[in-house]
């Protein structure tokens, strides 16, 4: 994390309204109607889940920091607001995003090593030619107008942990929720501190049943809790500042009210995340893999 968020390029150039984002994607679709009908792809979020899993696989053997994976995910999102995914080889783009993000988050990996690993995972889609990745890095930087610093919600979480205070289980769950928000459009829609608050609320409202680990996702923990419904009622209580929830939650609500954080935005984020967990149930790795593979092969995008 560097520089000042309020003056950052992230806030000035990479924050969209929902309508604007929908507009951009609609335009991309209009420009390439043929590909769209020929190569249907799953829901954006399912695609994100797939990409994220590939990134994690790629990062696994290189002792990468979580934050580099997060930055790579944001790069992918930014890149695909300007380019139609059906015109690209998603495997090359995600490998490049990973490579650049590692440099950006100060855990650089050698380009040959990254290409080698990527080839090991997806031999059909990544050529051994290192220059390809170099070229793609270049395109990625240009498409992002060389605005490369990404502000993440993790640091806000760490800072608020003592102030609120949060238990280590709650921090771990909130951390996983932050990991999960990269699977949605939220990083393009809301500033990082709003996301962090959302993650904290979720973690406090849906008390972690068992401690989760920091690297993982909160999906398994949360989708069960959501089904029993009690957490949802508490979420409803959040918008009502006179809420009668348990004291722990009341305290949080009070703190929020004083914090001047945009509560509406926080609630919107919460809903987005909960709907992610619903969509998640339909996720099939095999399906994503086949659809992307067919698209890349048929269109010769890997050449």
């Amino acid at each position: 994390m560097a520089a000042n968020y309020w003056a950052s390029t992230q806030r000035r150039h990479w924050l969209f309204s929902r309508e604007r984002l929908a507009d951009i994607r609609e335009k991309l679709r209009e420009q390439d109607k043929v590909s769209h009908s020929q190569f249907p792809l799953p829901d954006q979020r399912l695609l994100n889940i797939y990409c994220n899993q590939q990134l994690i696989k790629l990062g696994k053997r290189m002792s990468t920091r979580q934050q580099a994976i997060a930055t790579a995910q944001v790069y992918l999102k930014r890149f695909y607001t300007k380019n139609e995914i059906r015109q690209t080889n998603p495997y090359l783009v995600l490998t490049t995003a990973f490579y650049l993000a590692c440099k950006m988050e100060e855990c650089p990996q050698h380009i040959r090593f990254v290409v080698g690993e990527a080839r090991g995972l997806w031999p059909e889609f990544i050529t051994p030619d290192v220059a390809k990745l170099g070229e793609c890095e270049f395109a990625l930087i240009s498409e992002m107008s060389s605005q490369l610093i990404v502000h993440h919600p993790y640091r806000t979480l760490t800072e608020l942990q003592d102030e609120l205070p949060l238990s280590s289980d709650e921090v771990a769950l909130a951390w996983s929720v932050i990991n999960d928000h990269y699977l949605t459009d939220l990083p393009l829609l809301h500033p990082p501190h709003v996301i962090a608050i959302m993650a904290i609320i979720i973690s406090v409202v849906f008390k972690p049943a068992h401690s989760s680990n920091f690297g993982g996702s909160a999906q398994s923990t949360l989708s069960g809790a959501m089904r029993d419904g009690s957490g949802m009622n508490m979420l409803a209580a959040l918008s009502d500042k006179t809420g009668h929830g348990p004291p722990r939650i009341q305290k949080l609500v009070l703190w929020l009210a004083e914090s001047e954080v945009d509560i509406k935005a926080v609630i919107e984020c919460t809903q987005e995340l909960l709907s992610l967990y619903e969509v998640w149930e339909q996720y099939s790795e095999k399906n994503c893999k086949e659809l992307i593979g067919r698209m890349v092969k048929t269109k010769n995008l890997d050449k």
Partner: protein, 400 residues
């Protein structure tokens, strides 16, 4: 900022007022949190991206070559529409043999200059790419050389009021970096370039990085040797803005003495010269120093006591007692006892007479050397002088 996402990249880039700094991204309770005018955020049109890159490139005309270094070639350029508005175009060299991706130097420079906007930091106007996959940075043109040239030029006379003006500008630039969680890590006189109006600007962010998250290691192979603080020479992997403050102290000393104050031939020699000059670090004056990875115990008989105020006053008589006190606070061996950039700015020295010279009255070098040579170098290199410092390597295998 205007509605176009590229508005901020025009040469007339607005300078952020320092008080906007109080707003931090991490301050969730900040009142500005609610006001995110999403409408003004982006009007980019995807099909325009390439066009935009070309537009940016065509905005400038490349003139003569100013200089060349290991890492970049620097050209003088000007705006197509306005031949009198000069810029420096820094074209990053790409290894033609096999493309290894962009170097960390180039990435860092773009990364930080895109976000930092301050009168004492070189401005990045634009970035564009060319067909041969070269990244070009369009930077503010700073025609009046650098502080090193002024220091070395025996024909130029300057006094403590001038030093105060230069140091003030340096301290503000460094403070701004630190306030934005950026460590510069290569502060030295020839990275301090001078604008046509006399303003000193911190340049070369090829070694800069963000403050690490707690407990994460960083490399200690940064900062040109003569300006490198003892904790880095001892191999500390976790450090703070105090490293830049030490470098500032060394620049301050060099401005007053007109020679580098502690100029070691090797890293070891640098350490022993620091000990001779300022005192030997011990557990008493610097708790924890013996635990640093490359700590070397000193023989008891060789111990130099930590220097007090009178030493600094003797060494730097022109600075006066208050100036000597400031110098001492910047050269504390223990980084925790060293002043922060903010404390430096709050020091009494700035308030007392003589007042800093006004920019227009600052001494200037005639027939200025080119900006290009400074900017083409890789971070950490010293290009001349009897002690040719080898450039430290920031290899990709190095951890964080």
């Amino acid at each position: 900022m205007a509605a176009s996402p590229f508005a901020s990249r025009s040469p007339s880039v607005a300078v952020a007022s320092p008080n906007t700094l109080r707003l931090r991204a991490t301050a969730a309770q900040d009142s500005a949190g609610g006001v995110l005018a999403s409408k003004s955020v982006s009007n980019t049109d995807q099909e325009l991206t390439e066009q935009l890159n070309d537009d940016v490139r065509h905005k400038y005309i490349k003139d003569k070559k100013l200089g060349e270094g290991t890492y970049a070639v620097v050209f003088l350029g000007h705006l197509r529409d306005d031949p009198s508005s000069f810029v420096a175009i820094k074209k990053v060299k790409v290894n033609a043999e096999y493309k290894d991706g962009l170097t960390m130097d180039a990435i860092r420079e773009v990364k930080y200059l895109q976000e930092l906007s301050h009168p004492n930091i070189i401005a990045l106007h634009d970035v564009f790419s060319s067909k041969d996959q070269n990244l070009s940075l369009v930077l503010e043109f700073l025609p009046r050389g650098d502080l090193e040239m002024l220091i070395k030029d025996g024909d130029i006379q300057y006094g403590v009021a001038d030093v105060k003006a230069w140091m003030g500008m340096l301290a503000r630039g460094v403070w701004f970096c630190h306030e934005n969680f950026v460590l510069h890590r290569d502060i030295k006189p020839n990275n301090l370039l001078i604008a046509s109006d006399g303003e000193v600007k911190l340049a070369d962010f090829g070694l800069a990085r963000s403050f690490a998250d707690p407990y994460l290691n960083m490399t200690h192979q940064v900062i040109t040797r003569w300006y490198r603080p003892p904790e880095l020479l001892y191999g500390a992997r976790q450090y703070s803005g105090a490293v830049d403050v030490w470098s500032m102290g060394m620049v301050f000393a060099e401005l007053l003495l007109r020679v580098p104050f502690v100029a070691g031939n090797t890293d070891l020699d640098q350490l022993s010269k620091i000990c001779e000059a300022f005192g030997t670090p011990t557990e008493e004056n610097w708790p924890g120093v013996t635990q640093l990875p490359n700590y070397i115990p000193t023989d008891r008989t060789q111990l130099v006591p930590v220097q007090g105020r009178d030493f600094f006053l003797r060494q730097f008589p022109t600075a006066g007692p208050v100036g000597a006190d400031l110098m001492m606070s910047m050269c504390a061996l223990d980084p925790r006892k060293r002043h922060t950039a903010l404390q430096v700015l709050r020091h009494n020295w700035w308030m007392i007479d003589p007042q800093p010279t006004r920019n227009e009255d600052l001494p200037r070098k005639s027939g200025a050397k080119k900006m290009g040579e400074d900017m083409g170098r890789r971070g950490g290199e010293i290009d001349d002088g009897p002690f040719k410092n080898a450039a430290r390597q920031l290899d990709f295998g190095a951890k964080k």
